[in-house]
């Protein structure tokens, strides 16, 4: 057991902290899930890229800086601590890119990753469909071999594509073998939203932003070069991405430890010196802080496991259950501290926590509901019978 960081790692942290201090906008920006906010956030992505911070863990040739997993965690910690802007590039950088690294061809990586890192292409997910959900097995959107060869023709509808109304590309599964059952016969495609036959419709959502989209595909031509992994192999490829989404990469502890520190600051601003000690509130704040710290510590173990070559597999469900539920409790505690102020949408501090709460509520739902995650833990980790 060694909890110390190397001098190089500490130097990296110092560099990231200094850059963020100098560059993070002082005033909060409009949400990146609105049209104008999205445009603004794209400029931020480009600044990150110019400084080499867009995708620190990627190889240099794709726009990264070959950072280690530990350095990546450090960067995330500093990023959230600095209150830096939302990452609109996250679907590409944190979800699609790991899939490309594992299943993509060199041509795909060379063509797509540098543009992704530079935010020339911003990516959206296209997983859900009106009749499919957490299990993805109900996917009905079809891709059929183009008679002329060299590609496929895609038809169908995808829903709940985050920021899909403003993005450049989507990735998702389409059914290439209609006779195959459930998880079989699916293929993983990447599609530019500018392709003929694609229609995108924005949908408002709970937190007031219109960052969801429905995407309709009407006989959209996609070349073979935009298939990831083999034809009909989409399920295995997607599982890698889904694992990534609910695993280590999407939810680094920095996000929660930073929120916990903001919660401590909120407590101090409300329960200043001279106010009576309120043990009920202190207990709730301590609990939230402790859970964030627990997740930070747990992640040190996870990183070590990954570095040692022990994959996470079903254990990533443990991860996802924990962070998604701690995030809800943490924000609930903040709203409880705010009391009647919590509902004020024109009180920037209150509205920030309320938006965070609404976002947190999506945690137990997306990337496989926590009900499904608990099934996975019970069946694949504890070995309980499926039926």
């Amino acid at each position: 057991m060694d909890l110390a960081y190397t001098a190089a790692e500490e130097a990296f942290r110092a560099e990231a902290r200094a850059w963020l201090e100098a560059n993070v906008p002082r005033e909060p920006w409009p949400s990146g899930d609105t049209r104008e906010g999205f445009a603004l956030h794209r400029t931020w992505e480009k600044r990150l890229h110019a400084a080499g911070f867009a995708a620190v863990a990627w190889p240099k040739k794709y726009g990264g800086r070959d950072a280690s997993l530990v350095e990546w965690l450090m960067f995330e910690e500093e990023y959230y601590r600095a209150g830096a802007p939302q990452r609109i590039a996250q679907n590409g950088i944190f979800l699609l890119a790991p899939t490309l690294f594992e299943f993509g061809t060199d041509e795909q990586k060379d063509r797509l990753l540098p543009r992704m890192a530079a935010a020339d292409d911003v990516w959206a997910q296209a997983w859900s469909e009106p009749g499919a959900g957490s299990d993805l097995a109900g996917i009905r959107s079809r891709a059929t071999r183009d008679a002329a060869g060299g590609g496929f023709r895609l038809s169908g509808q995808k829903t709940w594509c985050t920021r899909g109304a403003f993005c450049d590309w989507v990735f998702g599964l389409f059914r290439t073998d209609p006779a195959a059952e459930r998880h079989k016969g699916l293929t993983y495609f990447m599609v530019p939203l500018s392709a003929p036959g694609v229609t995108v419709r924005g949908v408002g959502r709970l937190d007031g932003d219109e960052g969801f989209a429905e995407v309709f595909f009407d006989d959209v031509w996609v070349p073979d070069a935009d298939v990831i992994g083999g034809v009909h192999q989409g399920w295995d490829v997607a599982m890698a991405t889904t694992g990534s989404e609910r695993g280590l990469t999407l939810r680094s502890p920095g996000r929660f430890t930073a929120a916990a520190e903001r919660l401590v600051a909120l407590y101090r601003s409300i329960h200043g010196q001279g106010t009576p000690v309120d043990t009920r509130v202190r207990d709730a704040v301590a609990r939230a802080w402790i859970e964030a710290e627990q997740y930070r510590i747990f992640t040190l173990q996870t990183v070590t496991d990954v570095r040692d070559g022990r994959g996470l597999g079903a254990a990533s469900s443990v991860n996802k259950i924990f962070w998604s539920e701690l995030d809800v409790r943490l924000h609930e505690t903040a709203l409880d501290l705010l009391g009647e102020r919590a509902e004020l949408d024109d009180d920037a501090e209150a509205a920030g926590w309320m938006k965070g709460f609404e976002f947190a509520l999506a945690g137990p739902i997306y990337a496989g509901t926590n009900e499904i995650q608990r099934n996975i833990v019970a069946e694949r980790v504890l070995g309980l019978p499926r039926k």
């Binding site: 957490s134 949908v203 959502r205 709970l206 009920r280 009391g339 919590a342 509902e343 509901t369």
Partner: protein, 342 residues
């Protein structure tokens, strides 16, 4: 002992529901999100039903009904997520004006009873309240200083924005000269009773909101399929919804009990109102959470009605004392003052 609504009360609930089903559709609630003023037509319809006059004694031209009758109406207000200020006008302010027994109260009271105006209330040192910006009469109810009402001048209030866009909040920017109509013990009593009614009324709305959100989730769980069967057949979904049902089933009688005790001016009335608000807040927020979880991503969408009910719930659960604040009141009564059960 008979713990049940009367036939008249059931009929009242039905009459209100019939009107709201037609005139407070989800589309109407949604429309309130982009409107700065309340719906005059809907208020007129509520006035036709006698709603603003319910708690006003007959000698003041009112209907002389009880808090229990009012709670029956407010449960429907919650069920349909009605944006109009029934709680503020009919439950809190009208009976307060009537009970003040001052000549100054006659004019605003008559206009409330006639359905011409709506009202708002600010307790103690609060500055922000529902319906404050736009109300024709505002009551300042301060336990230790007195009770005063006034017609806010233009510019005296400004609009504040709630997470629930249909909830029109206002802030008092220019308070009137302090000139209470009622002072001393009487003011303390009027304020305390108005606070109890505020908590009780919010509790009733929350029970209605919670039940509506649970109904939505049940309907959805019956038709939405995953893994080849309706999601309502999965035990996890069943248990989420069953737990929400249990909480609501136990919260509703607590609200009815508090209303009855309040109408009786019973010794435990105030404690019962706090208890009702505490359990209704928790039951409704729990139902919101369960309903959202069972709806999945679709519930997260602005296009789905659930969020209209959910945001009202979040606001009302904290308004007039959140669950923890109300439990602290109960704690003070049972732990410090040695009040036994009645």
């Amino acid at each position: 002992m008979r713990f049940a609504l009367s036939d008249e009360q059931r009929l009242l609930a039905k009459s209100v529901a019939d009107v709201l089903r037609k005139h407070a559709t989800p589309a109407d609630v949604r429309a309130a999100w982009s409107s700065d003023v309340g719906s005059a037509e809907r208020w007129a319809q509520l006035a036709d039903l006698g709603v603003p006059a319910m708690l006003v004694p007959e000698q003041h031209g009112g209907l002389g009904l009880s808090e229990l009758d009012m709670v029956v109406v407010l449960e429907q207000v919650g069920r349909f997520a009605l944006p109009e200020p029934v709680l503020e006008t009919a439950m809190i302010v009208a009976p307060l004006l009537a009970a003040s027994s001052t000549p100054e109260a006659a004019a605003p009271l008559a206009r409330i009873v006639a359905g011409e105006i709506t009202a708002a209330v600010l307790f103690d040192d609060a500055r922000v309240a529902a319906n404050l910006h736009g109300a024709s009469v505002v009551v300042l109810a301060r336990a230790t200083e007195g009770v005063q009402w006034f017609e806010p001048a233009a510019g005296a209030t400004k609009a504040r924005r709630s997470v629930d866009g249909a909830r029109r909040l206002g802030e008092l920017c220019a308070p009137p000269t302090w000139a209470p109509m009622v002072t001393g013990d009487r003011a303390a009593e009027l304020t305390a009773r108005a606070r109890d009614r505020a908590a009780l009324g919010a509790a009733a709305e929350l029970v209605g909101l919670g039940r509506a959100m649970l109904d939505m989730a049940v309907d959805y769980a019956k038709v939405r399929e995953q893994f080849g069967k309706p999601i309502g057949s999965f035990q996890a979904v069943k248990h989420h919804l069953a737990s929400a049902h249990v909480a609501l089933e136990l919260a509703r009688p607590a609200v009815l009990y508090a209303a009855q005790r309040t109408s009786e001016r019973a010794a435990d009335a105030s404690r019962a109102c706090s208890l009702a608000k505490a359990v209704a807040s928790d039951a409704a927020t729990g139902a919101a959470r369960a309903s959202l979880q069972c709806h999945g991503a679709i519930g997260y969408s602005f296009e789905h009605d659930l969020h209209l009910w959910m945001k009202r719930t979040w606001a009302l659960a904290r308004a007039h004392g959140d669950a923890a604040t109300q439990r602290a009141r109960v704690a003070a009564l049972i732990l410090d003052h040695n009040e036994g059960r009645s």
